[in-house]
Amino acid sequence: MLSIKNLHASIGEKEILRGIDLEVKAGEVHAIMGPNGSGKSTLASVLAGREDYEVTEGTVQFLGKDLLDLAPEARAAEGIFLAFQYPVEIPGVSTTNFLKSAVNEIRKYRGEDPMDAVQFLKMFKEKMAYVNIDQSLLSRALNEGFSGGEKKRNEIFQMAVLDPKLAILDETDSGLDIDALRIVAEGVNKLKSPNNATIVVTHYQRLLDYIVPDYVHVLYKGRIVKSGTKELALELEERGYDWIKSEVDQ
């Protein structure tokens, strides 16, 4: 589904990603871990198409298309979804209006007819149950004055509505208490299917208690320096990152 080869990316003069290789297949869950500043969030941003980063080398294929060639909105329409670490406040636009625009723009991209109000109502109701989100939250201006938990829950609701092929969760656990974490993780697990894939970017292992990865990759200094199964995450939890750092820095 996703094939990243020798990806290099910089912001300004500073190179942050220095040759990433990663293969993700349908039905898989990959965890990207690593110490602060290792490039985890940059990787997520580059995949979603944030323009602050310049890709200097390498390729990213997504379902046979050159992902780096596409605008962020086209990537979304092709099936990529980024759950933000810090969801942005959109004053004056409710979640429902926001999602109606998003869904119909994506349908337009795919050459499908727009959905009408009745169809939306039915779909929203269905998806609300997935993430245990309240109607009142969806009528408010998106993320404006939301608590940390409400923002993340809203991200997962958006993911449920947009039904992506590849979901990238960027530090979704940050700022969440344990109950909110569980609800968000349950939502992600329910949305999992043999046809889609998930990349979980996280600093801590605790999210992986709830979203169990098939593969764990450790990112350090802009490269994947170690890959393994979920046991690697447990080892990191126990021993920290220092042993990996010293292995690499030698």
């Binding site: 979304a76 933000f84 942005v88 926001f98 999602l99």
Partner: protein, 424 residues
């Protein structure tokens, strides 16, 4: 200074006027000063210097063919090039539309109110030009305790002639004690030639009366519209104005509130959306002359293309105006890198027991918000439109009439969507 040709034309008109009359004096003032240039502090960003060199058809004949279709209106009046017609009369005897002379005959007590008025006319030579050249005032008179439940529609239209033209028009509105009415004004134009539209409105709102005034300014390119709206409010009255500036080469709104009684409420709402080669200038004055009154001003602007916007908001709190609450906010979005906004709040406070606040901001659309929206599949132009629409909605939502709210929203969406800046 006026060009020789224009000077000759206006001198010719002056010779037919009694130099001691109101009109004669006004024209002589105008001839001394000419049109404002950027050297005049009040016109720093809105120079009319070029107008000093353009001789015009100063008395165009109105000819209008606007269709009348507003079943929501109680009464429809039209001024086409300053010539008044009643398009849909009302059987309500609580109001009348008449000429100034007729009005004074029927309502002689107004003479005193009229001669006591004290507008602020600094650097306003266009007011003089209007007084000198305009036909008689049209008067809209709402009588004591009369409530007009449906709105009144005023279609203000200027029409282009072969030559550059200028329309001078005057409207006087008098609400007697306890009267209540809403006036919806559509300002439009026909043709594409150069027109100077100079419109003076003087509005007297008596004790306990309530007045709502909505202006929808939607002219063709080529029109320069100078609007002077002077509102005098007596004790316990409330006035809400909504000024929507959508299209014209140039719009200058001089909106003045003179608060002359206690317990007065004045709400000023404005929204301007200038585009390519358009300039929109809002100069507001809220003059708190008496105590225990409240004014709220909310102005917003979206600037497209190479547009220029100007906001100058003056609040005066005179020594007698203790316990005044005066609030002012002006927020702008530059939707294009080529647009310019000039803001200047000016507060002059002589009373010591007052609450006043003001704030102006000018910025661009939030890049983070745009990326967030795009990452959900919303295209860049659609994301910008959605954000801009959310921004202007705050002002539009204050309009009570759903039909007008909808038509304004549609026009603004269309204008924003047409703008090329959205996809750059």
């Amino acid at each position: 200074m006026l060009s020789a040709e224009l000077n000759t034309t206006l001198q010719g008109i002056a010779q037919k006027l009694d130099p001691e009359s109101e009109k004669g004096k006004a024209l002589s003032h105008f001839l001394d000063k000419g049109f404002p240039t950027s050297k005049w502090e009040e016109w720093k960003y809105t120079s009319l210097k070029d107008f000093n060199g353009i001789d015009r058809n100063w008395f165009p004949k109105g000819n209008s063919n606007l269709p009348v279709s507003a079943d929501w209106a109680e009464l429809i009046i039209r001024s086409s090039d300053a010539y008044l017609s009643i398009e849909k009369p009302s059987s309500n005897e609580g109001m009348e539309v008449l000429s100034f002379d007729e009005f004074i005959q029927k309502c002689p007590e107004f003479q005193e109110i009229w001669s006591d008025k004290k507008p602020i006319l600094d650097q306003n030579s266009l007011y003089d030009l209007n007084v000198a050249l305009a036909p008689q005032h049209t008067v809209l008179w709402i009588k004591k305790d009369v409530e007009i439940s449906k709105a009144i529609l005023h279609q203000y239209q200027v029409n282009s002639t072969e030559k550059s033209s200028s329309v001078q028009s005057r409207l006087l509105i008098y609400l007697e004690e306890g009267a209540k009415v809403s006036l919806m004004e559509q300002q439009t134009s026909t043709g594409s030639a150069d027109i100077l539209s100079n419109f003076v409105q003087e509005i007297f709102v008596s004790k306990g009366a309530q007045f709502t005034y909505l202006k929808d300014q939607d002219f063709q390119q080529g029109v320069s519209h100078i609007d002077h709206t002077f509102i005098y409010q007596a004790e316990g009255s409330q006035v809400d104005t909504f000024t929507f500036s959508l299209n014209a080469s140039l719009i200058r709104n001089n909106l003045h509130f003179y608060i002359e009684g206690s317990q007065v409420v004045s709400n000023l709402n404005g929204l301007y959306v200038p585009g390519e080669n358009q300039l929109m200038d809002s100069h507001t004055v809220v003059d708190h002359r008496m105590p225990h009154a409240e004014s709220n001003e909310l102005y917003k602007g979206v600037l497209l293309g190479n547009a220029t916007g100007v906001f100058n908001g003056k609040i005066f709190v005179r020594q007698d105006a203790q316990k005044t609450n005066a609030f002012q906010s002006c927020r702008n979005v530059l939707a294009s890198t080529r647009a310019t906004m000039n803001t200047k709040p000016q507060l002059e406070i002589w009373a010591d027991d007052v609450k006043c606040s003001h704030g102006t901001t000018t910025g661009q659309l939030n890049e983070e918000a745009l990326f967030y929206m795009r990452s959900r599949g919303i295209s860049l132009p659609a994301a910008r439109t959605l954000l801009l629409l959310a921004f202007v909605q705050e002002v539009i939502n204050k309009v009570e009439h759903p039909v007008l709210r909808e038509s304004l929203t549609e026009k603004i969406i269309a204008k924003i969507q047409q703008s090329v800046d959205l996809s750059n």
